[in-house]
Amino acid sequence: MPSGAFLDYVDPWVNWTWLSTHIPLFVAALQQHLTLTAIAILGGLALSLPLGIAAHRWSALRNPVLAFFGVVYTIPSLALFALLVPYTGLGVLTAEIGLIGYTVQILVRNLLVGLESVSPEVLDAADGMGYRPLARLLRVELPLALPAMFAGIRIATVTTIGLVTITALIGLGGLGQLINRGLIENFHTPLVVATVLSIALALVADLTLVVVQRIAIPWSRGSAA
């Protein structure tokens, strides 16, 4: 019987020596993770602001918009990516179509909740002060809808950071790449460290947004997330 050190080797949850020599790998993964998340949030905002405002302005649009993105949101990300792959290939475009689709659902919903919660008295007062519709929207309704919108941005950011890991299956993944590597090579360290980093990234991003919200729109204090 060979008393092999190889056979007796137990893979620790985190191999610190390996980790200390592979830090650039994690930095690169983290960068890709942040980039994919930022594109999804900014793209989602760029789409959902006009969509949300239009759906608020023309109520006939409201239910179709919510229903369409509701269906998109229900489709599991892996399935959505797989449905897109024959058309858009493996890569950033496929990933972002999916991720942006999900953020739009969260952001439009929250923008509508915010716009609909502006009290009629406030709107009356604004009209009475002579605001035209566009000025009323920009200077009265949107500022009052911002706290709800911000809550949506927080949910969308945390959700997207989690979902980005799944894009590992279409050749991206950010930290998900390292989870995938851990799975394929049966090696605990990248898997555990990348999962912990992904959770930490989501929580840090959420806290950062809370701080930004406090500073940027102090009138939102006390409103629920």
Binding site: S77, A79, A82, L83, T165, I166, L169, L183, V192
Partner: protein, 235 residues
């Protein structure tokens, strides 16, 4: 267009409708593991959320557990469960239950918390004891959000169960994962269609159940439920 024609042919092929890798078997596996996970998750989460909401304690925890749940990367959780527990259904079940719990805790907490204080006062005045008040007054009023929590969890569990194929699990995710691995885009697309249809059917059937289960008097007040329910997506 040729993709869609090939996919239609894939669905028309009787070979894909029988045997251990056939659609009925994969569908059954997918529904079975999802139903088990949601049921176990509900047994753990609903009593916690209901108790916290009834006593009005640990509200920050009950709300923030959903935020923590959202931050969990389902892919990583599944693979770690696989490394700890090995092959089989157990790691999948453990990971899915963990992901099913947060939305049910938060939504049931919010549902009970938002029962009007005057209504509770009136129940007390009518002589309801605490347990009777909870079961006969507070719970019926909280049904819309309890159901919203179960629905949210169920849709996410069905979605995440797709990833179980990555750790050698069954279910409809098998077609998607194998399709990627074999670069068989027809199988990939067909699997994705099946997964998308199952997730949408779960959402629709549970919203239907919600409509039936919500007491008639409360249905009149139900408009803002969608607004108060916690959204959740992990896969």
């Amino acid at each position: 267009m040729s993709v869609l024609i090939k996919v239609a042919q894939w669905f028309a092929d009787p070979a894909h409708w029988s045997g251990p890798d056939g659609i009925p078997q994969r569908l059954f596996e997918h529904i079975q593991i999802s139903a088990e996970s949601v049921a176990i998750g509900a047994l753990i989460a609903l009593p916690i959320g209901i108790a916290l909401g009834h006593y009005g304690r640990f509200g920050t925890l009950a709300i923030n557990i959903s935020n923590v749940g959202r931050a969990l990367p389902s892919f990583g959780v599944l693979v770690i469960a696989f490394q700890v527990l090995g092959l089989g259904n157990l790691p999948i079940l453990v990971a899915l239950v963990a992901l099913a719990i947060p939305p049910m805790v938060t939504n049931s907490y919010v549902g009970l918390r938002e029962v009007d204080a005057d209504v509770k006062e009136a129940a007390r005045g009518m002589g309801y004891r605490e347990l009777a008040q909870l079961v006969r007054v507070e719970l019926p009023l909280a049904v819309p959000l309890l159901m919203a929590g179960i629905r949210t969890s169920a849709v996410q569990v069905v979605a995440t169960a797709t990833l179980a194929a990555l750790i050698a699990g069954g279910g409809l995710g098998r077609y998607v994962i194998d399709g990627f691995a074999q670069q068989d885009y027809t199988k990939l697309f067909a699997g994705a269609v099946l997964v998308a249809v199952l997730a949408t059917a779960t959402e629709l059937s549970l919203s239907g159940a919600e409509r039936i289960l919500i007491p008639r008097g409360i249905r009149l007040l139900k408009a803002p439920v969608a607004r108060r329910a916690t959204t959740f997506k992990t896969a």
